[in-house]
């Protein structure tokens, strides 16, 4: 067993295979990081909508809450298939990667908007009241008072979510996106030992997520004081 794996190593770690793996790792990372960055932006907007008080915006608030509550409860794989079929109507030529990216964004928007909301809620209400009485607008309250204090509550779970999603993007292999897990399947179909192949894939996932975890930890410490 061990010998066969060892004997395969020179054949396995060839330049073309490494490039193949590297590209797949890049796709996995892109799916998660880009999907979560867009998701964070949209989630932030949803959380801001939920902060409004204007009666006219009530339908928008309901929509934002409904989105968050619904899309956090649908399995990622189901979203992938939904997007896969829905997108054929709007953009039949969309790449599988784009489909996966849209799916990641849909899910991460819901989760990250909830994380942002919890961050906003962590800022004592009295400060918001004081600002309201001084005629700060809703947006001024968010960007001058609430957001600066909420970052340290938002970032740790936000980062954790993104790192966790690196693993979940493996599901994109189900619709044929050549990300890490799919690459593993291809390589093992080419006759490489599954242990070696998926051991390498495992290592690749670790290499992708560990630095991000560290970066998140670093930001968390940097933000622990509200000032800088």
């Amino acid at each position: 067993m061990i010998e066969t794996i060892l004997s395969e190593i020179p054949r396995f770690f060839t330049w073309p295979n490494l490039v193949f793996l590297g590209e797949a790792a890049g796709r996995t990372l892109m799916l998660s990081v880009v999907g979560c960055l867009i998701g964070f932006t949209l989630g932030f907007v949803l959380a801001c909508i939920r902060q409004t008080r204007n009666p006219w915006l009530a339908p928008l608030r309901v929509a934002a809450i409904a989105y968050t509550e619904i899309f956090r409860r649908i399995p990622f794989l189901v979203i992938l298939f939904l997007v896969l079929f829905a997108i054929q109507v709007v953009a039949p030529n969309a790449s599988l990667f784009a489909i996966a990216l849209v799916s990641v964004t849909i899910v991460s928007t819901a989760f990250l908007s909830e994380i942002v909301r919890a961050g906003f809620d962590s800022v004592p209400r009295q400060q918001v009241e004081a600002a309201e009485v001084m005629n700060f607008s809703r947006w001024q309250i968010i960007h001058m008072i609430v957001a600066p204090q909420a970052w340290k509550v938002i970032l740790p779970p936000g980062f954790a979510f993104m790192v966790m999603f690196i693993k979940d993007t493996a599901l994109a292999s189900q619709v044929g996106v050549v990300e890490l897990t799919f690459t593993g399947k291809i390589l093992s179909n080419r006759g490489f030992s599954a242990t070696l192949t998926f051991g390498t894939i495992l290592l690749a996932y670790f290499i992708l997520s560990y630095p991000l975890t560290r970066l998140g930890r670093y930001l968390e410490i940097r933000l622990a004081s509200p000032r800088h």
Binding site: N54, P124, Q126, Q127, E129, A130, A131, E132, V133, M134, N135, F136, Q140, M144, I145, P148, Q149, P226, R227
Partner: protein
Amino acid sequence: MPHLAIDGLNASYKNLKVLHDICLDVERSEVVSLIGPSGSGKSTLLRTLVGVNKPTSGKVTLAQRTLDYSSASSLKQARDSMAIVFQQYNLFQNMTVIGNVTIAPLKIKKWQRAEVEEHAHSLLQKVGLGHKLKAYPDELSGGQQQRVAIARALALKPQLLLLDEITSALDPELVGEVLDIIRGLARDGMTMLIVSHEMGFVREVSSRVVMMDQGRIVEIGTPQQIFDAPKETRTRDFTARVLSH
């Protein structure tokens, strides 16, 4: 016409009715003090006037304009001319002392930076915090935060100032200083509605005193009437209890 006219104001928290039919006029340059046992609705009255709690019914007129608490523009206009110091100070924790005091004049009122900063410095000097300009709220004692909140309210140059128990968090030796500031404001003709437990101060500074209990106004009178010859037993009991301390 009074500067502030409150007519039949009612307010509640969820299902709990907290203010019952409050009627009160405050003339320009008058200092009116609210006294009464804890939970009688004094804070709620101030918070309702600035629209942090929405009244359920009643009419509030400020500077001849009837306020519509459900209209953003009406509320904005009213808030433009009043300031409140909350019982829990409510400073912005992400801003320095000077930041707290200058942000609204700079960003909301859009006044000139040089003037705003000069005014803020002199106000903070006056409340004894000239050496703490760059400190953050969590580096200050309760009493210091309270004084920053007072400076922050005054920096807005309000026409009406609402103060909620601004001396309750102060060390005894500071109470006098802060009350001196309020005395000075009264002398300068600032219209104020004050909640206070400092009966000596209330008696000295107020033109009229309002006794509240269980969300109602029990009695309104001059300090002499309220403290020396109260008509209501509830007022007599309360002032006797507080003054005996």
